[in-house]
Every structure is written in C-alpha cells, then in structure tokens.
C-alpha cells in the first residue's frame, strides 16, 4: 500500500474559529480547533483519525472538504490544491471526494425520499453541466446503489423517518457513492449505531472498499473500531496530530504517552483480561482549545512530562520507520 499514489495530501492545515469575547468588544479570541496538521492518505488505504471529543477531528474533515475555509495550509486532492481552487474546480473535485456523517438522523433531508437523496449529487452535477444522465439512467443508478448498500429498491419512495438508524446510514453511504468518488471522508459513521448494527455497517464499508478500491479518511473515537478499519492511524489531541503510524505498529507499540493512555483506557469485552489490566488513569479534563500553549499541549495531563515540555512545543517527527510522534521523549528540542 505504501507504494500507491498519494491521493490526499494535507499540509500545515489550520482552522481557527474567531469568537467574540463580549458583545461590544472588538478584541477577537480564537478557538484553535485545528492548529497545524500534516498527513497523507494513499489510494486504497484507510487512515483512521482518532481522539477525544473536541480535539478537532470533524473540523479537520470539514476543512479538507472545504466546508470551512481553512485559516492556513494546503489540501491537495491528487494535484489540485482545494484551498486555492475556483468554485467550478471545487465542484468538479467533489465528484472525487464525498462525506458520510455521524448522525444518520440530522444528515438526511426529511422532506426528500431515499431515492431523491441518493440521486441528488448526480442531479447537481447534471445541472452544472458536469455530467450527462437521462432520467432512466439516474433511476437505474439509484437502484443499483441501493442494492450495493443493502437496501431494497422498493424503499426508494420512502422518507428518512421511515428508516432505522442503520438503514439511514446506508442511504448516506449510497449518496456518497453516487458519483463514484475515490475518497470518502467518514465522520463517526458508526458511533450512533447499536452494536449489532455497527458491525453490519463496518462490513459494508470494507466490502465497498474491496469492490471499488475506495480510500477512506475514517473518524471515530472508538479505538477498536479504528483498529478494525484502518491501515494507518493518526491520533489527535487538542488540534494536533500527536502520533501517526501503520495500524499494527501503533496498536502494538504506541509511542506517545497520550496514545498509551487512550489504549489502556479503552475497555475490552473480556472479564478475564479486564481483571488483570493496568490502566493509565489520566488526571484532569480534556482542556479547551481556546488558547495556544507555549509547550506541549498534553503537558498538564502527561504522566511522563519533563521540564522542557512546558517551554517548547514538540513537532511530529519520525521515531521509527513510518512511525511519527510528537514528543520530547523521542527527539530533542531544536
């Protein structure tokens, strides 16, 4: 997989949201939701993006999709820098990059039928003159997509509220597949689902990847889900990627103290293992991204912090082959 072409290349991506401190005050503060992340996703692989609530996962995905205008950085999809692309270029790029969202309830228009929701991206493309498709061709495509994601085509004229959570997620996936994209950005697509439905949808993602050679950026907060789907994994903390490695290396030998704590905190459904496990219990809460820190973002909660960590910011560097980590335990400050 490491010899496949780079499909998505994210460089120095920042997304700072301005917040006003008071109604009349001119002084602006910022939420540093994403504060400089770099990573690449190769064709056919799944990059899992994991981290706690508010660490900037969704913001990263949305800034890549240009749903937000990034504060800084570049996002290359193939050779095109999306942050500098024209409106028409962006629309054309959408054909190659689609999103699936967490909430299968909120992300579908309640007044559209399943068939119309799935056909919508095709209709938009047709309208903008980017694609030709007859009404019959669109109908066929919708039925074919429904079958691919495991929905009966007889449900075409039903509305979202007539479907269960898992079925709605299937509609969202069919819509994302409509234009035959190479890359799908999946933002917590199984987090709202029950265990038995979650495994059905995870299998569907894998089957579709095998069949169409899809590339995924897959966001989840559940480390076992990430382990199951990912070829590579990036761990985020407070707006930054703190570690990125091949999935098997990251799970076998986590380097960053935060990754270690995350892995040790995740419960394992086996009472014998649970009884013997030593947890690293972190103190304190996940801090707020409303300021930039002079030192390591994990300093306050890090069980291994050193003096230097308070004063200097570590950066993401290779510690082992294909395994990058941002921590002074592995490299000296510049």
């Amino acid at each position: 997989m490491s010899d496949h072409k780079v499909l998505l290349d994210v460089r120095g991506l920042k997304m700072h949201f301005p917040i006003r401190t008071g109604f009349f005050s001119k002084a602006k503060n910022f939420i540093y939701a994403v504060d400089g992340v770099d990573f690449q996703v190769r064709k056919g692989e799944t990059l899992g993006l994991v981290g706690e609530s508010g660490c900037g996962k969704s913001t990263t995905a949305r800034a890549i999709a240009q749903l937000y205008k990034p504060t800084a950085g570049e996002v290359y999809l193939d050779k095109l820098d999306l942050t500098k692309a024209s409106g028409q270029e962006l629309l054309a790029a959408r054909k190659n990059m689609q999103m699936v969202f967490q909430d299968p309830y909120a992300s579908l228009n309640p007044r559209m039928t399943a068939g119309d929701i799935i056909a919508e991206p095709i209709r938009i493309f047709k309208k903008s003159g980017l694609m030709e498709a007859s009404k019959d061709e669109i109908d066929d495509r919708v039925e074919q997509l429904m079958e691919k994601v495991g929905l009966s085509r007889f449900f075409k004229n039903r509305y979202p509220h007539e479907f269960s959570g898992g079925q709605r997620q299937r509609i969202g996936i069919a819509r994302a597949l409509a234009l035959n994209p190479e890359l799908i950005l999946c933002d917590e697509p199984v987090s709202a689902l029950d265990v038995s439905i979650q495994s059905q949808i995870l299998n569907l993602f894998k089957d579709l990847q095998d069949e169409f050679g899809l590339t995924y950026l897959f966001i989840a907060h559940d480390l076992s889900v990430i382990k199951y789907v990912s070829t590579r994994v990036a761990v985020m903390y407070l707006g930054l990627i703190v570690e990125i490695a091949d999935a098997k290396d990251l799970y076998k030998k986590p380097l960053h103290p935060y990754t270690e704590a995350l892995l040790s905190a995740a419960p394992i459904p086996d009472p014998k293992i649970e009884a013997k496990r030593q947890r690293i219990i972190l103190t304190g809460d996940v801090p707020s991204p409303d300021k930039q820190r002079p030192g390591c973002n994990f300093y306050d909660r890090c069980p291994k912090h050193m003096d230097i960590c308070k004063r200097a910011r570590p950066s993401l560097k290779e510690a082992e082959p294909r395994h990058q980590v941002s921590c002074f335990l592995y490299h000296k400050p510049e």
Partner: protein, 330 residues
Amino acid sequence: MSDEVILQVKDLKTYFTVDEGVVKAVDGVSFDLRRGETLGIVGESGSGKSVTNLSVINLIPTPPGKIAGGQVLFHGKDIFAMSSGEIREIRGNKISMIFQDPMTSLNPFLRISTQMVETIVLHQGLSSEEAKKKAIEMLKLAGIPAPEKRIDQYPHQFSGGMRQRVMIAMALSCNPEILIADEPTSALDVTIQAQILELMQELTHRLGTAVILITHSLGVVAGMCDTICVMYAGRIVERGRTEAIFETPRHPYTMGLIRSVPRLDQEAKGRLYSIPGQPPNVIDLPDCCPFYPRCEKAMDICKKKYPPVVSFDNDQSASCWLYTKEARNV
C-alpha cells in the same frame, strides 16, 4: 457481595399507550440484586433498560406509561404499594440514580452546594453546616479539586466529566444501598470514562453500595460487573455471572453480540461477524421468540411460542428453545 437479596424485581411489566398501539417496553422482567453486588444490564437502544430502572423507583410518567404488572420488592416491601411519602423516603436516599446526561438531574439555576445540602439535610437530618461539610467531603472523594471553592459554583461552570463526578458525589452522599447508573459514561471520552468508572467502583466498594449499571458497552460490563442481564425487546433473555456470560453465552443474541464487536486485543482480519436484521419494534410483538427473525439457530417452535427460561448448573439462565426437550423432539 453478600447473599442477602435487597431488591427483587418480579415479572415487571411496564407499558406505554401511544397512537400506534401499546408499547410493551418491559414485558415480564425478573431479577434479584444482592447487597454490594454490581449488576449490569446490557441491550440495544429501545430494549427497555431505562424503563426497567425507572419502574424500580416508580418514576414512570403516567400517562402514557403504566405499571401493567409485577412487583418490585425493596427489603421485601412492595414499592408499588407504598405511599408517596414512603417512596420519597427511599428515592434519592436508599436508592439513588445517576443518568447519562448530568444536566437532567442537576438544576442549572442552583449552586452545587444548595442542591447537595438540600438533599443531605432532607434525608439525613443533619444541620446545614454539617451537611455542607459532608458535601465537600463527598466532592473531594469524587476527585473534584478544591471542593471548598467549587461547591459554590453553578453546574455550567463544570466540564462534562466533572459534572458526572458531582452527580456521583451527590448520589452517594446519602449512603444509598443501591445506586442505579443509567449509561453514566456513554457521553464521556474514553480517558474520562476510565476515571469515572474507577471512581464509581472504588466508592461503591468502599461504601458497600449495590449498583445496577445500565450500558450498551460490553467492555464496560466486562470490567465492572459481577453479574449481567441481557435484555432484548423488553425481556431479559439471558443472565449469569459475568465470566460465564462471556465464556459460555447460551442465548444466540448474546453470542452474536459478543462476536460482533471489533476487539482491541485481537488482530483485525476479514469481516466482522454481524447479526442480520434489526431489533424489533415493541408494539404488537407476536407471542413468539422476539429474536426469531434474526436468529441463525431458529427452529419451527421459535415462531410459535415464547421460549421458557432454561437454567444451567453454573447459575446461568437463558430464554431459548434450543435447550429444551421440545427442541430435541422436533
């Protein structure tokens, strides 16, 4: 955990009348809870976990809900036969609850001190100074830094994890015999979840509190519970000691659940096992095994009659036709 049973739920039925018909949210649930025991209730969304526990403390909104049958015996006394005064004496004092969203039980307009002191004074007859001291002590136990200062703050000044700690402190401040925790960590991050679960385990062990822990996470029950009840479509379909449930699950639904979760401690290979189909709608369920349409092992009899409870020698039991004479005869 001792052998003394402090709570008995017997054939509990809780129904809701809605436009579409009668929702049999809980339909014949029975279990015992012993002093100091941690009992886990697992099941999919809508399987009746919360309704079971709201029924235990008689907090079902009526209408649309009603207790359609059964008993809940607390130290042998039927909760449904108690006067509202008697039940108030138990609720929040002998049996307390924490919920997934702490804001459902914290009043956003009152300082934490006001809320805690009020409960302690009401239930324990302490003076308000003594009650405040006790409250600070509980917050400290719950790991709130500088509790003397934080106690006079309002709920919104705390983070999600800290609010959950405050809830636990409040719930345990009256030394309850039973703590009912409904998805207490589902809204929290993994590292915070680990903190809160450890806190709950430590405090309840120290105080000898029995816990009913409702969750959909098999990982959480594996680490926390002595015994487990698995719910499906308003009924308990399997129960047993935690190790037994994970080692020798008997009900096909339990087996399927355990096999469907991706595991942190195993190599990810191939497809995940998955249970086909979806959980049933609990309106107008036919009187057959509710798992029948999704079950790999289903037999003819499964779609005709609800299966009986079969007991196994390790204190485990399951409602499934597989283990009956009838199944062997067909």
